[in-house]
């Protein structure tokens, strides 16, 4: 006997520990995070080496050019946190271990957000260092703090958005495609929408990260005049709505 039943618990702390253990014991999760960091850093090295920067851009903005691609990988990471459970069939084991589904989803969201925040912050900080060293001083520097924290937080929220979409759609391919569309379509279809462009393109996580990074890509005509931080709060807002919506679907649906 392992002990008495009173010692057992399957609450949020245990769900969190289980989700963290799942994450660190699968190579694909580690590789996805590595790919995310590598894309942010690699593009910073490329921008620095080729000096492919608009004259009005900042060193911070230029260094974080790779954040857009990094956000795509971060979103995919969020999708995979839940959709691999459906693909491998472990969702049954997960829900047998913790039948309170809201707790399971909250634990997954917490682990996703925390891991993405940490990895993105490190990657973005290093990317900025690379940019500072490699880009000439005639560019404006940009203000890195607290902007880098905001960009890292965007990775977290985008990952949670991916988790929400993955929870509803279950299939990894469909959910990742949806996330790519959510992240990239606004800036692509934006110009077709006339006066609505600034709202549609401006509300995307990509626009928020460009604003926070003080990039010259974030021109008010395209992404609106809402500042970097309010844009982050906006993304947090609909990310949370998506997560609550996913929790409702998750609760009601048969596993």
């Amino acid at each position: 006997m392992p002990g008495t039943i009173e010692q057992g618990r399957a609450g949020f702390a245990q769900a969190l520990a289980a989700e963290w253990t799942k994450l660190r014991t699968v190579r694909s999760a580690v590789w996805t995070l590595a790919a995310m960091a590598a894309s942010v850093l690699g593009i910073a090295v490329f921008v620095g080496a080729t000096r492919s920067l608009q004259p009005d851009d900042t060193i911070l903005g230029g260094s974080l050019t790779g954040a857009t691609f990094g956000l795509l990988v971060g979103a995919s990471f969020g999708v995979l946190v839940i959709s691999t459970e459906y693909a491998a069939g472990t969702i049954g084991a997960t829900l047998m271990a913790c039948p309170r589904r809201g707790v399971v989803l909250a634990a997954k969201a917490t682990v996703t957000a925390a891991v993405l925040f940490g990895v993105a912050l490190a990657a973005c900080f290093l990317a900025y260092q690379v940019g500072s060293v490699t880009l000439p001083d005639d560019y404006a520097q940009g203000v890195p703090m607290p902007a880098l924290l905001g960009v890292a937080a965007l990775f977290s929220v985008t990952g949670v958005l991916g988790l929400a979409v993955g929870t509803v759609l279950r299939h990894p391919a469909g959910a990742i495609t949806t996330m790519v569309a959510i992240l990239l379509l606004p800036s692509m279809v934006g110009p077709l929408l006339g006066g609505w462009e600034r709202w549609v393109a401006g509300a995307s996580p990509v626009a928020a990260s460009q604003k926070l990074a003080q990039s010259s890509d974030a021109v008010p005509d395209a992404v609106g005049s809402l500042g970097g931080w309010p844009s982050l709060w906006l993304v947090c807002g609909y990310g949370l709505v998506a997560l609550v919506g996913a929790a409702v679907v998750f609760q009601r649906r048969d596993a």
Binding site: G8, T21, T25, A88, A93, M96, P99
Partner: protein, 316 residues
């Protein structure tokens, strides 16, 4: 203890489980039988809170599964042996499960040892044979040392030695006072393992009874007879309405009168017998007869305290 009352599950137009009521008691192995599509797996998913019932209720130790504070300490289940992430090692699969319910870490090593997977604990599950995956699934079910165990087709993919091991494990778990519910389509295996049977067909309860009772009540009286003077005995038997058929070993199967009546008839007419063997139906024969959709099965009202639960018409 598992208790279902009026348990019903509808998927669209299909009624997968139709008003099932039963109890699975501790201290014995309860076999869960039914043809494919009868609703066995659905019932197990309802017990485990994976699917929500359309009607009725099922509880484990008096609570619905979703209300159990630390479910793995009370219930262990093996539904699908292949439901583990192939990229994880056996040890890590059990590790995250143990974390999820605050089960001491040493249990991981203990259950791996128990199912004979200790030597492959560090190997990725992707490379496991079905038999090894089945053992890992059983290890996961035993992780929290639960009092209630649910196994869906646990002997699938196991070799003779593995099947024997599972059978002994189930019997031991039941002997320790645990509640053991096991489904299988292998009747001969079930006959050896289970003490009690719950039989369902088309989502409805066909029988909830002790194994012995089920077989005895549903057996046809068959007596195997060998006699040097068979021709005369046959005439006498047929005159009394018995049916006779030769079997492959050169004996005659006598259907109708019971063994004692056959023996007395032979004695009365001074006919020598070289063999007179009462033959009980096997579980498989009883089961086929019960679940044959062409046969309208009516469970007899039993005199004993082990009631055959319901009467039901499979054709309807």
């Amino acid at each position: 203890m598992i208790e279902a009352s009026g348990l019903t599950k509808r998927y669209g137009a299909t009624l997968a489980v139709d008003g099932l009521s039963f109890q699975v008691r501790p201290g014995r192995v309860t076999g869960f039988l039914g043809p494919n599509g009868a609703g066995k797996s659905t019932t197990m998913r309802l017990i485990l809170g994976l699917d929500a019932p359309t009607g009725g209720r099922v509880t484990v130790n008096g609570r619905s599964y979703r209300e159990l504070p630390a479910p793995l300490w009370e219930v262990g289940a093996l539904l699908d042996a292949r439901a583990a992430h192939g990229g994880r090692t056996a040890h890590d699969h059990l590790l995250w499960l143990s974390r999820s319910n605050r089960i001491p870490r040493r249990r991981v090593g203990e259950v791996l040892e128990l199912v004979g997977l200790a030597s492959v604990a560090g190997r990725r599950i992707r490379g496991f044979s079905l038999g090894m995956a089945q053992r890992l699934g059983i290890a996961a079910a035993l992780l929290g040392d639960p009092g209630v165990l649910i196994f869906d087709e646990p002997v699938n993919g196991l070799d003779t030695e593995g099947i024997r091991w599972i059978r002994e494990l189930m019997r031991r778990l039941a002997a320790e006072g645990r509640t053991v519910l096991v489904s299988s389509h292998l009747m001969s295996e079930m006959e050896l393992t289970a003490d009690h049977l719950i039989v369902i067909g088309q989502g409805r309860l066909l029988a909830d009874t002790a194994m012995q009772d089920l077989i005895e009540r549903n057996s046809q009286a068959v007596t195997l007879v060998r006699s040097p003077d068979w021709g005369r005995l046959r005439e006498l038997l047929e005159a009394r309405g018995a049916q006779v058929q030769p079997d492959r070993q050169g004996r005659w199967r006598v259907l109708g009168p019971d063994t004692a009546a056959v023996g007395e008839l032979a004695a009365k007419h001074r006919i020598a017998l070289t063999e007179l063997t009462p033959r009980r139906s096997s579980l498989e024969e009883v089961y086929v007869q019960m679940t044959d959709p062409r046969v309208e099965y009516r469970a007899q009202r039993p005199a004993s305290d082990q009631p055959l639960a319901t009467t039901s018409n499979l054709g309807g």
